[in-house]
């Protein structure tokens, strides 16, 4: 799940992580009010959308830039007026762009040094790892590629947590003075607490800055959560912004279906994440393009399968559907009944290729045959891929 920058700021505040003062606004008047409350002439207004590249983006109105520096509260109001309710296009949004519904108004700080600081779970060792660098404010992957010696890595024992001496060592490795270190230790400890208590999969601060006034601030933060743990964080779940998500993905999530939209024209309905990925791979191998990833899971019900079908055919680019089921938990007769019901309910507009194998496969095949539905049966996964690719050609 993704959250907005202003929501990340709320979490930083909650865990005592210093960042630049500011507030969120939904109207130009609110934006002006926030600006006045900050008591400074160094202000910045940022469009709140779930996509990067905002600063260099363009509004469909022609207004340039989703991030603006301002000198007065009146100017903040005028800029917010240009952003709110308008559509911002960046290199990450696609040509349709995203509607800006909120702006973050904050104090712009004078930066002395830009650093990088992140916490994630290292898969190789299965424990938290801190990644830091003196080279902040730039793409960390390119720093790692060109100057790997500038990447600091430090493991954290999950049973002890991040210890105070480790925070001091990190500050020193980042070239901080004694005074800066004292501030940074508090910030690092707060970030680690945020990471663990909120079940994050990653917290990335880029840049972490030392200001000309000697403050240490988390200037821009990206926080990702472990979706499996959201059940115990209703406060974070409340941050979900459905307006920012693919409508088919939202619909799928209502029925506990794992759907990810892609750009092709062959829809897939598969059980199991590995087989779903492999089905996409084999479609591509035979010259087709998958329209989605869809894992109906281990224990899908007939209703889930019916809903899954409705979601697939709501994508108007879809020219054919491939159902690939290997039944373990999932029984083939349940899938077959779901397919039959869905096809009858929605009057399927495109060719359907079905490949069933596994538990109760005979019952499943019989149901499909007896239904007299126009579908192409496939004998194995390669046959299924070839038939569905041929169907869209």
């Amino acid at each position: 799940m993704n959250i907005h920058e202003y929501q990340a700021k709320e979490l930083l505040d909650k865990f005592g992580v210093p960042n630049s003062p500011g507030g969120v606004a939904s109207t130009p008047e609110q934006a002006e009010k926030v600006a006045r409350s900050l008591g400074t002439n160094n202000l910045v207004v940022k469009s709140q959308i779930h996509a990067g590249g905002r600063g260099k983006g363009t509004f469909t109105s022609g207004f340039q830039g989703g991030v603006h520096l301002c000198k007065t509260a009146n100017q903040v109001r005028d800029i917010a007026e240009q952003m709110l309710g308008k559509t911002l296009v960046t290199h990450q949004t696609g040509p349709e762009g995203r509607v800006v519904r909120k702006v973050l108004v904050s104090k712009s700080v004078e930066i002395a040094r830009e650093l990088y600081f992140a916490i994630l779970i290292d898969r190789a060792t299965s424990i938290p790892m801190i990644v830091a660098s003196t080279e902040g404010g730039v793409d960390i992957e390119s720093v790692a590629a060109t100057t790997p010696e500038k990447i600091i890595r430090m493991s954290v024992d999950p049973l002890y947590g991040l210890l105070p001496y480790q925070t001091r060592k990190l500050a020193k490795l980042l070239g901080m003075t004694s005074t800066e270190m004292r501030l940074a230790c508090k910030l690092f400890a707060g970030l680690y607490k945020l990471f663990i208590r909120s079940d994050c999969s990653m917290v990335e601060v880029n840049p972490l800055v030392v200001t000309k006034g000697g403050e240490v601030l988390a200037l821009d933060s990206k926080i990702n959560f472990d979706d499996n743990a959201l059940f115990r964080h209703p406060d974070i779940l409340a941050y979900r912004d459905i307006e920012e998500e693919n409508p088919r993905e939202v619909e799928a999530s209502k029925f506990n279906l794992n759907y990810i939209g892609l750009d092709g024209n062959i829809a897939c309905l598969v059980n199991g994440a590995g087989l779903a990925m492999a089905t996409m791979d084999i479609i591509k191998h035979h010259g087709g393009e998958p329209a989605n990833f869809l894992d109906v899971g281990g224990g899908a019900t007939e209703q889930q399968v019916t809903e899954a079908f409705k979601i697939l055919i709501s994508d108007k680019r879809v020219k054919a559907i491939l159902v690939n089921i290997f039944g373990g938990i999932m029984k083939c007769d349940i899938i077959a009944q779901g397919i039959i019901n869905a096809v009858r309910a929605v009057n399927l507009p495109v060719p359907l290729v079905v490949r069933l194998e596994g538990t109760n496969v005979e019952a499943g095949r019989k149901l499909l045959n007896d239904s007299k539905l126009p579908l192409l049966a496939a004998t194995d996964i390669a046959d299924a891929a070839k038939k569905v690719v041929a169907a869209v050609k």
Partner: protein, 292 residues
């Protein structure tokens, strides 16, 4: 002989009174697995399927039935605790089927298990089967045949696919191990590959991986140095877009790491035959065996 489970395995099912737990406990029993006990807190004293005693705690089940393996079907919120309970009771082999366990819970479980005697398979896995002897998991038993090919995989349904292809070509399996799709799991590809290498009944292996992480690369490096048995591999997710999590919590390509191309290159360098598509897994192994 096979690895990890056989006719002597005495199975406990944690969460046996649940719908999925009960269904699969029965199906394992019908396959011939020696099911000796079930555990569901506050349901102690009940009897499952007319003969299997249900206990409140794993500690009691272990003491009274001598169970040495457990299959966990407990909901995700409580599953980490159930694993730890099995560890505390000295259960040698813990197979956790539950999917959706928070990563931080698993991180603590793994840290606490370090240096202990229990082995964890999963979580978020289909389980383990030694065909003709013992099935602990949710796989359809009838597709398997006793034989000489070891199969290890992160993905359940892809494992069934490989087994199906092998059985159809007359090649049975020694043991099939589903290690699970989560980023933190108990037993890695490498751990299983080492056991297959030491097992005289396993003459060849199929290794099925997915994008994300570096487990497949680690197994490949070890195989290149230590293994003379023929191995074939398939990596799922070559066409998955970077930055999107494809179902399994582990299946994500980020920062250029964990790509299918990188894994395939590492496996090829270890003289492992690559299945180009999921339909090619058994044939890839037969090609590798032909040039062995």
């Amino acid at each position: 002989m096979a690895i990890l489970v056989d006719k002597s395995t005495r199975l406990l099912v944690q969460g046996i009174t649940g719908k999925a737990g009960g269904f699969h406990a029965r199906s394992c029993m019908e396959y011939g697995t020696h099911l000796v006990a079930g555990v569901t807190p506050a349901r102690g004293g009940e009897v499952f399927a007319d003969k299997i005693p249900v206990f409140d705690t794993v500690f009691e089940a272990r003491q009274q039935t001598g169970c040495n393996a457990t299959m966990i079907f407990v909901p995700a919120e409580f599953a980490a605790d159930s694993i730890m309970e099995a560890v505390d009771s000295g259960i040698e082999l813990i197979i956790c089927i539950t999917e959706g366990i928070p990563v931080i819970d698993m991180m603590r479980v793994k840290a606490a298990m370090t240096g202990g005697k229990s082995r964890l398979i999963g979580p978020n896995c289909p389980g383990i089967i030694t065909p003709g002897q013992c099935k602990i998991g949710i796989m359809p038993g009838y597709i398997h045949k006793p034989g000489k090919v070891g199969v290890v995989s992160r993905s359940g349904t892809l494992t069934y696919e490989a087994v199906w292809q092998l059985s159809a070509r007359g090649h049975g399996q020694s043991t099939c191990v589903g290690i699970g799709g989560d980023p933190i799991n108990g037993t890695s590809h490498l751990d299983v590959v080492k056991m297959f290498n030491d097992d005289p009944d396993t003459e060849a292996m199929i290794l099925i991986g997915e994008i994300g992480g570096t487990a497949e690369e680690e197994a490949a490096a070890w195989l290149a140095e230590n293994c003379k048995k023929p191995v074939a591999a398939f990596i799922a997710g070559a066409t998955a877009p970077p930055g999107r999590r494809m179902g399994h919590a582990g299946a994500i390509v980020s920062g250029g790491k964990g790509t299918a191309a990188g894994k395939i290159e590492a496996l090829r360098a270890a003289n492992i035959e690559i299945a180009e598509t999921p339909a090619d897994m058994a044939d890839a192994l037969l090609r590798r065996m032909a040039r062995a």
